[in-house]
Symmetry: D2
Subunit: 281 residues, 4 copies
């Protein structure tokens, strides 16, 4: 990371110590009201994410980091969140993310902790015919909850696809309106899996997946593929839900699809959520 | 509203009828999967909102409108949502919003319905000393759920205030960092109340409220008021929670405060949520 | 507009007067540096806009208001901008907008002034076959410059349309990728015209225009219309430029089109700008 | 970067070749209208940026890439922009950025080219007293124009600082409103310089610079520093302009400052722009 050395009129060091300064946050609070979440948000940080294909990928994440605050304290110590973040910037996996969550909860002397880390994630994709290498970007979010000593993880991916309208195709002499649609898929992660698996699942269930680069012969194939595979937003979320229902690793999920309609100035939307264990009980 | 008459090369009418066209959405679906929410979102519409001070105020709302879809239908009829919206554009109150929710749920032949309507809301405020009239804008959201024949309403307001840091004031020779903070307050609305009441409650619990216009003598007063009334984000949410706890009309609430810190490039955040009836049971 | 009466712990009036307070902004400045633009921005205000179809439409505008500041003054008086805005909230036309610009420049004792007022604008549109009435929203911006006693106006409209890819149609067995595209059209307004005229011009030159509501028989017609009328972003801006070139009222323009590509996760973009008088000289 | 292998129902390769496919874009166009800019935008790509402190920093950039299109061609070849981007993803400096611009203009057979590359850039900063290491994020943008064989570069930085109001301080018994302010500084880059130099210049001219982490003793120092150094937005842009005027490397610049006012729900803004060579001629 770049360094800035102090310019002449910028702040300079002194030898005062933080311990000589009043700790207003640490004072007793008389209001008898615990706070559910307190912390920092909208903080950007460079991170390095483990990839299924091996190695790590450098990207930039936006964090929210929170703990609960018992009723007896006036405030939390916000700078500690930043210290924990600074200590963990490299090579994040689901495992090391959990460690950061545990460390934060202990360091802030709290019962509960919550971290959200959202970042663009890049995957090399090859055009379907020419095999030209392109890059696709997806938004991935790791969400961790630490509650009474137990950690629970969720992973969310946002995956853009093409959807082509079955009604428009069915009723028209030729053509069919289609558009970019954004699939949002969030699952509870009890067992290990790769974000790439969720992304592939979502891409498989649009009318066609997107690519970073397409030559003309590729464009012909994706155009025809979408036309052969029309889907409403309702179809997209159902077909993904079927795949999630069949995979024992995913006990709880929510799948959404939003069409940025090419014939309207608003969106069409559908969502299915399911908790297999709640449904079984 | 303005009208556009058809330009020469724009689409012209025909005498075909919609009933002659295949209804793809209405077909049977074999996947045995109900959809929790299906509908339209990101649709803007002019609305007119009843004011506590009397009369109505014209503004622009962004809507999300959804119903559930039983497993046996392939899709919903998206155009009906728009028809319902078009029929209700004027003079919306909490009451007429509930009627729109009921009508939507019935018209779409669904068990459950959900509408969110978010809009900027303007209130005349008078500068504290000069009484110069200014205008403040707030973001207000009406949220309605219709579940198995029962309607439940929530109202959310976003209220910007000043917060001045108690720690910074306490430890510094002079001055104290302060900043704009955004309070988000959402309550379940079992009994009638005005959004203005929530806004006043939030404004009363920052270090100082904001104004659309301040002359110098007003600026002096708000500067000193904030300095005399330092608050962490933790203090803001606790002080609002105390007021909500004391008001029997509000059975469930969530209050958040986010400081756009003037000494950092990230935010400080706190949240309290409470369900009085769950806590009592 | 709603009114808030002072809650008990909110700020109360005093009888001090602003004129007894030091005017820091009005002090002399020794740096010998004039400021090109100084003022307020991101301020929202309810407005009422004259419509071509008659009457006015209520909407919400976001303003930026600026003047130049001669080198001899330390600062401008920000509250005066807000006062001017408050005095002009109703029934804005291009004419009254110009008056506000002149008044602002005079009131702030400046040579130059600049106002931008951006707002959603709603137009009733009728579905092409069923004539079902829907509402379309567009973003319109009035831009005024007052320079050395002369006023110049620009109007900008953002118009969403469908574009259908000519290449995709040409090379594919069936279907063609299409998507929502946003046309941005800004013209210098020397002579009077309606924003509706620019909007219609833009809508006429996409592959198809958008509608707020479409029944199935309408959807058939717009699907086929787009397929019969394929256009690249390059075609869209050229075809609009041709129409602007033919209209003597528009002496200077810029037209942009951005396709939110349905086969990629990025946009395709094209822009033409032209100043007829510069070209003739 | 991660790789996705083809899932069973995803698109598979064929041995067709792109050259057998009609080139619709390359066809002749009869409209006699050249296009000023055509290309792709809103495309995200991982990049690696050379740092003044040595080495490179990995981050994520959003690109816009455009060329002009002579009147005789129907369209440009959008996939070539992506190919150029894919070939240049690593270790970008101002020099290699210029090469990419030249290569793009040549490859697209155009006279003019334009690239914008905007990215978050992270710099280690040390708290003023404790020397605790934090990270600050800034938005940096490289802007390149290739016109008739000549290349011109601009660099833009967005730098958040604290500003404390001189008027509020002067007229109040104690305290002064302050807030985060965003300085935007864009300069023409005829000679080499580091983005870090612009960032330091901007940070030196707020009331106080921001830090990623501050312990209490640091917070005391920055609070007092801001109080001792009150500045209007007008002061901020003038003081930066003076420094830019004194530096012969910067021939043309624009400096803006926007205060997210802590006493209002809108911003205060100032801007100075200057072209030394135009002023001298």
């Amino acid at each position: 990371m770049a360094k800035i050395s102090g310019a002449p009129n910028r702040l300079s060091s002194s030898d005062a110590s933080d311990t000589q300064i009043a700790d207003v946050q640490g004072r007793a609070d008389p209001r008898q009201l615990a706070i559910n979440k307190v912390g920092i948000c909208d903080i950007r940080h460079p991170v390095s994410i483990a990839q299924r294909s091996g190695g790590h990928q450098a990207t930039v994440a936006t964090f929210g980091m929170y703990v609960n605050l018992p009723h007896e304290f006036k405030g939390t110590h916000m700078s500690r969140f930043v210290q924990i973040l600074n200590a963990h910037e490299h090579q994040i996996t689901l495992e090391s993310f959990k460690q950061m969550l545990t460390e934060m909860t202990e360091r802030l002397e709290s019962d509960n902790g919550h971290i959200e880390m959202s970042f663009p994630y890049f995957i090399d994709k090859f055009a379907p015919v020419t095999r030209e290498k392109g890059v696709m970007d997806y938004e991935v979010c790791f969400i961790g909850d630490r509650i009474d000593g137990q950690t629970q993880m969720h992973v969310r991916v946002k995956v853009p696809v093409t959807t082509l309208c079955p009604c428009s195709k069915d009723i028209s002499k030729y053509g069919a309106h289609n558009q970019r649609s954004l699939i949002t898929l969030e699952v509870r992660a009890d067992e290990f899996f790769w974000a790439e698996e969720l992304i592939e699942m979502a891409e498989s269930e649009g009318s066609c997946e997107l690519f970073g680069i397409l030559k003309r012969i590729d464009e012909k194939v994706v155009t025809e593929r979408a036309y052969e595979n029309p889907k409403f937003v309702e179809d997209v979320v159902r077909d993904i839900a079927i795949r999630l229902n069949d995979d024992e690793r995913f006990r709880r999920y929510r799948v959404e699809s939003e069409n940025f309609e090419s014939i309207h100035n608003h969106s069409a939307y559908a969502m299915i959520e399911h908790d297999k264990d709640a449904a079984n009980s």
